[in-house]
């Protein structure tokens, strides 16, 4: 492993910065069930970090710890050099962390554009009354935010469905709209919960390209959970492998691929 403060340049020319988030000895319990057992790992600035593992390995719980939705019973979460106290989700969002959900959580009755605009909420400062009047500052603010939203719509190539209500969209596009909403917050850390789940090969390829482009274009640090091994290996810079709440591997895709424990977990060798 490289030194924590170091920056280095990857083979394809991207600069990976120092550690932005560090999970230290996290343990998370639900009653008697230990969903996460003493896990530590870090996320570096500008990298694509994947968390993989079989069903029930504790991946989503891990992501929820990162996003601040779950507070671990033991361990510390360090973000941008400071220990993060327990926080409400909106406070986490204000810190520049945005996410998408495994089961899509969009406003179904609203248009794509309106959904993306909700992602701008943390960037809006004017009060409810001036927004209702929509004069001066509120108007300027909306125009500026709309421009950001439109750039993201352009970036993710969803112009054609800008005014379409989300409920009318197919699954693959909804996933993309969700990504757009997360991006609208201009996050410094983007969490993706199974971005490719339930997609066909073509949709997966599209989504992979968008994830790489987001990382490349905006320099966004991305942490993602994914089932599809092929996708993970192609996309990520480093991979954490979890099984039954424990970390069984951590490293570059190549290192992880050759890890005996990981192979066992994925090929289903009997556990004692």
């Amino acid at each position: 492993m490289k030194d924590q403060a170091d920056s280095y340049v990857t083979e394809d020319g991207r600069t990976i910065g120092p550690v932005v988030m560090e999970m230290k000895n996290i343990t998370l319990r639900f009653g008697g069930v230990e969903a996460i057992k003493d896990i530590s790992f870090d996320i570096r600035e500008g990298e694509i970090r994947a968390i993989i593992g079989p069903n029930g390995a504790g991946k989503s719980s891990m992501l929820n710890v990162i996003s601040g939705f779950y507070v671990p019973q033991e361990g510390e979460v360090w973000y941008k050099g400071a220990r993060r106290p327990s926080m409400k989700p909106f406070e986490v969002a204000q810190q520049g962390i945005a996410r998408t959900f495994q089961n899509i959580a969009l406003f179904e009755g609203m248009s794509v554009l309106d959904n993306v605009m909700t992602g701008r909420l943390t960037h809006m400062k004017t009060g409810i009354f001036s927004q209702a009047l929509w004069k001066g500052a509120a108007e300027r603010e909306e125009i500026a935010n709309r421009e950001v939203a439109e750039r993201i719509i352009d970036f993710l190539e969803i112009q054609a469905i800008r005014k379409t209500p989300v409920s009318r969209l197919p699954y693959g596009l909804k996933k993309r709209v969700e990504l757009a909403r997360a991006l609208a917050a201009e996050p410094s850390l983007l969490l993706l919960d199974e971005p490719m789940a339930g997609m066909n090969v073509e949709e997966k390829e599209d989504m992979s390209r968008f994830i790489l482009d987001v990382n490349d274009e905006f320099g966004t640090t991305i942490a993602l959970i994914e089932h599809d091994m092929g996708v993970v290996m192609d996309l990520s810079d480093r991979v954490v492998v979890m099984d039954y709440g424990k970390k069984i591997g951590d490293g570059t895709p190549q290192e992880v691929r050759n890890n005996k424990e990981v192979i066992d977990a994925y090929l289903g060798v009997a556990h004692e």
Binding site: G13, E147, D154, Q159, D216
Partner: protein, 657 residues
């Protein structure tokens, strides 16, 4: 400027026209593009500034006079400017089809020896990089959309804006060069080179001079009274001559505004927002729109559907006559007005055709029902006939003389003659200079007196002077018994059925005609849905017995109509198969402009053709397919060979001979 006086005050090159427009219509919008959800526009003055900055930048990059500059991408103002900027540098723009694959691109770029390319996005950059090693003369690329290109090696890759900035900085050094080059440009200098889509063999580079472009733009603009305030929507491939004439030629000549859609998918929305006054679309687009309208009407409430049917019936009766300014009774007129209020107006608005003053269709024959549908709504849809070698216009239908079965009268300045074998020849100021690096083909196509062979067989109708096209001259053949074989004539009749997307008829030199048929997935799929017919794939739907039955009925209806034509009654279809895959340009079965490549299809599916003639009831076949990303796969299928009823008229007549 010197070159303006030379032509009696008329600008004689694209850059000169651009400068004239900047002076004459300075503040009028020249180009618009929807980006980030808003229509951005550029006036003629701004357009000139943008083009000039790019031209200066290109000079700075090392573009020389006479160089070829490839332009590849979807319709965007910046790419139109790139073509004008190339002209300004004395170079020759060569627009290429953006959906061409890397090898097709390599052939064309090698053939003209392009040193520079201006491309739209990463996709095009990747394609060129893929074949770069086979392009010895190729040097630099300028791209428009930087997305995904950050990491690329930028030694020979430049962003469009940067090139313009470079140009602005180097203005003092190069502006004199540009003035000198522009002063030299005249009617005979090359304006653009366009590659033919290559229905047969390799694409040929058609060299068009400023005379070709400007004279054609001028006469066609006058023919249709185009105005400076007109709006067009530029969405057809930039590599197609028509798009250059509409979006650059006529736009420069009349000074109207060219609007570029946000993306290919937003086209219908953009069309509605712009509401073009001058509109061009191939028959396929009109067909698709009509199919969509009909499908949506099937799902409409009963009252709405009744209202639609009632007023459409009335429109079909009197609409075309009203459009042509003929006598129509007062009551009928009033009823039409009412229809306009309830049905025609809202429908035209939905289609984005409310403001269309002049609409054209060309490229393929259009079904009479489709044609009449639009005309009955009061949309002035007309047909024109042309080709790249003529700078588009050969014949067009004047207002008030529009019919679905002819392609109109000769355009101003065009002469026509019909050879003994029925082939149509023309001569006009739009006739191309030459095929680049291909004197043999040039000599084959254009004779010493300037007559050009169209390759189409047709005749001029007595009395009206309208031209009627039967088929490609080389496709017109003879059946074994000596009667005339014109496959396109039959195919078009088949394709007029919404269920049939594509048809290929065989029979040259044989006793009987047979056909391949492609179903239209939109139309047949919607029919299947309404009739509770489940299907898992295109293949399965295509061989469904009820679909086969419907297609058989269509074929038999076509046979009945073919039998009525004295000359072509021998072309009735005796047997047909419904193909298991859509014919596709990626598999080389269609040209990029979606014309059938008969020979290639005949070779590829020789097993199916054999089965059509040896009396088999079915045939098993395996076909290689190419996916959009260039990967290959194969489809296996067993196709049913169906017999269609033919009318005895033809056989009787032949027997009598």
């Amino acid at each position: 400027m010197a070159n303006i006086e030379a032509q009696g005050g008329q600008p004689s090159s694209v850059p000169a026209l651009l400068r004239r427009n900047a002076r004459k219509f300075g503040d009028a919008p020249a180009y618009r593009e929807k980006e980030y959800g808003i229509w951005q526009s550029w006036t003629w003055t701004q357009t000139l500034a943008e083009v000039e900055a790019l031209a200066l930048g290109l000079l700075e990059l090392g573009v020389n006079e006479g160089d070829f500059v490839a332009v590849i991408g979807r319709n965007r103002p910046a790419l139109y400017w790139a073509m004008m900027a190339a002209d300004m540098c004395g170079a020759i723009p060569v627009p290429l089809y953006q959906d061409a694959n890397a090898e097709e691109m390599a052939y064309v770029m090698n053939h003209c020896g392009a040193r520079f390319a201006v491309v739209g996005d990463q996709e095009q950059v990747d394609k060129i990089l893929e074949v770069e090693e086979h392009l010895p003369e190729f040097e630099r690329m300028v791209y428009l959309d930087p997305r995904g290109l950050r990491k690329y090696d930028h030694d020979a890759l430049h962003e469009y804006n940067d090139v313009q900035d470079m140009g602005r900085k180097a203005r003092d050094r190069h502006i004199k060069t540009i003035e000198a080059i522009e002063a030299k440009l005249d009617y005979d200098s090359t304006c653009i080179m366009l590659y033919t889509s290559g229905t047969t063999g390799k694409p040929k580079g058609v060299v068009l001079s400023n005379r070709n472009i400007i004279e054609t733009a001028k006469s066609s603009s006058e023919f249709d009274n185009l105005r400076q305030t007109d709006d067009i929507l530029a969405y057809l491939p930039m590599a197609w001559v028509g798009d250059f004439i509409f979006s650059v030629g006529q736009a420069l000549w009349t000074g109207f505004c060219t609007n570029c859609p946000e993306s290919a998918e937003t086209l219908t929305v953009d069309l509605r927002e712009i509401g073009p006054t001058y509109y061009f679309a191939p028959p396929r687009v009109f067909e698709m729109q009509l199919t969509n309208v009909m499908i949506r009407m099937e799902d409409a409430s009963r009252f709405k559907k009744k209202l639609f049917d009632y007023f459409m019936a009335h429109a079909r009766k009197v609409g075309p006559a009203i459009l042509d300014g003929k006598e129509v009774g007062f009551a009928d007129r009033m009823k039409y007005r009412l229809g306009e209020l309830f049905i025609y107006g809202p429908l035209k608005n939905t289609l984005g055709l409310s403001r269309v003053r002049v609409g054209y269709t060309a490229g393929e024959a259009i079904g009479p029902e489709i044609f009449d549908f639009y005309r009955s709504l009061g949309i002035n849809l007309k047909q024109l006939y042309g080709q790249t070698e003529a700078t588009v216009f050969i014949t067009a239908q004047p207002d008030g003389e529009v019919r679905s079965d002819t392609v109109g009268v000769t355009c101003p300045g065009v002469e026509l003659k019909i050879a003994d074998n029925g082939e149509v020849f023309y001569r006009s100021p739009g006739v191309f200079v030459e095929y680049y690096k291909n004197p043999e083909s040039t000599a084959d196509t254009k004779d010493a007196e300037g007559w050009v062979a169209t390759g189409d067989a047709g005749f001029i109708e007595e009395g009206t002077g309208h031209l009627r096209i039967i088929d490609r001259a080389k496709d017109v053949g003879q059946m074994a018994n000596g009667s005339l074989f014109a496959p396109k004539y039959v195919e078009n009749k088949l394709k007029f059925f919404p269920n049939i997307l594509e048809a290929v008829v065989f029979g040259n030199g044989r006793d009987e005609c047979t056909a391949f048929i492609n179903i239209d997935l939109t139309a047949v799929g919607s029919w299947a849905e309404r009739n509770n017919i489940g299907y898992a794939s295109y293949q399965e739907l295509a061989r469904h017995p009820q679909v086969m039955q419907a297609i058989q009925e269509h074929v038999e209806a076509v046979n009945a109509s073919v039998a009525e034509d004295d000359m072509l009654s021998g072309c009735q279809v005796y047997r047909f198969v419904v193909l298991h895959k859509e014919l596709d340009a990626d598999d080389g079965e269609l040209t990029r402009t979606r014309k059938v490549r008969r020979k290639i299809i005949a070779e590829k599916y020789d097993d199916i053709i054999a089965a059509l003639y040896d009396g088999s009831k079915s045939v098993s076949t395996e076909t290689e397919v190419t996916y959009e990303d260039g990967r290959k796969g194969s489809i296996k299928a067993t196709l049913e060979v169906r017999d269609a009823k033919v009318l005895p008229v033809a056989t009787k007549k032949l027997a009598a001979e």
